[in-house]
Symmetry: C2
Subunit: 315 residues, 2 copies
């Protein structure tokens, strides 16, 4: 099969709902290129374009894409082959009422800083001897793209694309990037994958409320894993990096999110090693550990890294 392109113009959502209608249907194993706009839909092109308050519609997610044969209880596997920048600048902003240091009297909101993409073509590929970077004043930061919002149709509730939860959504997790694979529980027939809200670079935490927001082209291959092929019942997203498996959990507080992510890690370790939950919990406290994804969205997100030395694929 040749790679199929699905663009923002084909369809995009601002809310993950249980009854999403697909803009297209793809087959398991199909290779896709998904084009996404920046999280602010192009509203910020210069530093005089500021955002006064969080827009009602933000984080447009291209899709939803139905995957043939995906049924509730299955797992949707999304292998992210590459995330390419599709414009020559990113933007990082403060918005009044949003962000970790919101309310600090020394922090000015709204403010916009443009982060030009340099040493690279418009598609984010290096055109010289250097790696692609973005610049902030005279500082260069390597381009390390992040897919901020990615998810599937949820089980029962609806979630704006600003919100992360068990269906994925606004996970803002730096590991959700090219070379890694994300797994989601399937709650609805077809899974209904959608993604957007990419960043050219983002710190763990996304403290000011954004990374360098930018339009992208994302190469992915989707696949469906039958429920009876999995070692655990996946309740939340899970990301696989080169060296670790990381359950991702979102909740009202970081403490509650840590509990969920660690509980998922305990289940994975127990299934792998035949540990009871207590031994799995003790072992989880020896290596890898808790990592912050983002601390600014309406729910906050953490992950629990388990090095691959200690966990084979649960699928």
């Amino acid at each position: 099969m040749s790679r199929r392109t699905i663009s923002h113009e084909d369809g995009a959502i601002y809310e993950f709902t249980p009854d999403l209608e697909a803009i297209t249907t793809v087959e398991p194993g199909e290779e896709l290129t998904i084009e996404t706009r920046d999280s602010l839909d192009g509203a910020v092109q210069t530093e005089s374009d500021v955002i006064e308050s969080v827009p009602d519609e933000v984080n447009a997610a291209t899709g939803p894409i139905a995957v043939e044969g995906a049924e509730p209880g299955d797992v949707l596997r999304v292998e992210i082959e590459d995330v390419r920048l599709a414009e020559d600048r990113g933007r990082i902003i403060t918005i009044d009422g949003f962000g970790l240091l919101d309310g600090d009297e020394e922090i000015e909101a709204p403010r916009t800083r443009i982060t030009p993409v340099s040493q690279a073509d418009a598609d984010g590929e290096a055109d010289g001897d250097g790696e692609p970077t973005i610049t902030f004043d005279d500082l260069e930061v390597p381009v390390e793209p992040v897919i901020g919002t990615i998810g599937v149709a949820p089980a029962a509730e609806s979630y704006a694309t600003l919100v992360p939860h068990d269906h994925g959504g606004n996970l803002d997790t730096t590991d959700v990037t090219g070379g890694n694979t994300v797994y989601f529980p399937v709650f609805q027939a077809g899974a209904m994958l959608a993604m957007g809200d990419c960043k050219a670079a983002m710190a763990d935490g996304e403290m000011c409320g954004t990374g360098a927001e930018i339009a992208t082209e994302i190469d992915v291959t989707v696949d469906v894993l039958d429920a009876d092929e999995t070692a655990v019942d996946l309740e939340r997203p899970l990301v696989e990096t080169d060296d670790a498996w990381k359950p991702i959990a979102s909740a009202e507080t970081l403490e509650a999110a840590c509990e969920l992510a660690n509980r998922d890690a305990v289940d994975l370790l127990a299934a792998e090693h035949g540990f009871d939950d207590t031994d799995a919990y003790l072992f989880s406290s020896l290596t890898g550990g808790l990592e912050i994804s983002q601390v600014v969205d309406p729910l906050v997100t953490v992950r629990n890294a388990i090095p691959k030395e200690y966990l084979s694929s649960p699928f």
Copy 2:
């Protein structure tokens, strides 16, 4: 000067108070070896030794050590050259009422697991072709020691060695290890350094409430930096790793700790680059970011990594 050894038997504290009395005085630049007992003072030697509740006295910290010439407003620099294991086993435990998953009905407390040190002499050095490891059942985990409790006499309040705060204390931060350097604000004459509560290995988060608790010998060199030599007023501990500077903050909630650590990162970036606080905040959201130290102590601890490419020494 030859390296001076200071042992647990010379003195140890269970509380960091403003009026600590030194067990010895050292000169700036002096090389020390500090011997520490495990956090449970040797009470757990086999898996039948369990801890029913958090002891009144836990995390013995060897010291306090007065550093000649250290005055309030100065910065104490503690270069950690090496942390060697001083016994042949660690122990990792659950205690009822303690730990991230405390109250989970599948988690049993108290439980003790012994983690023998293998492929190594009793001093933790590899004696064969492998790196030193600890074992948990048939799983091997590399020895990556952590100094759990390290700090100085606080400004006004007293803190048990189970508690982390601006003076340091029970920071349980994996970066506090051999090869790295920790900086503390000096609140009292002589600074009054003390440390203990080491682990042979620990996950970020220390979810069950401990790592593999173990006695150690720690090589450090202490130094005093005059207040007028520093680019910022240090209010909390700061750790320097090979590739990053990381302010460390402890608070009632992870969210509050994140705010403090990010605020410190903003101050450091603003001082370095001449940014106003808002630009420093935006830049802090592009690279490095928030990391979890521990989520189980009476106050919780996070750090904010700033890659060294973007921050020279503030001292």
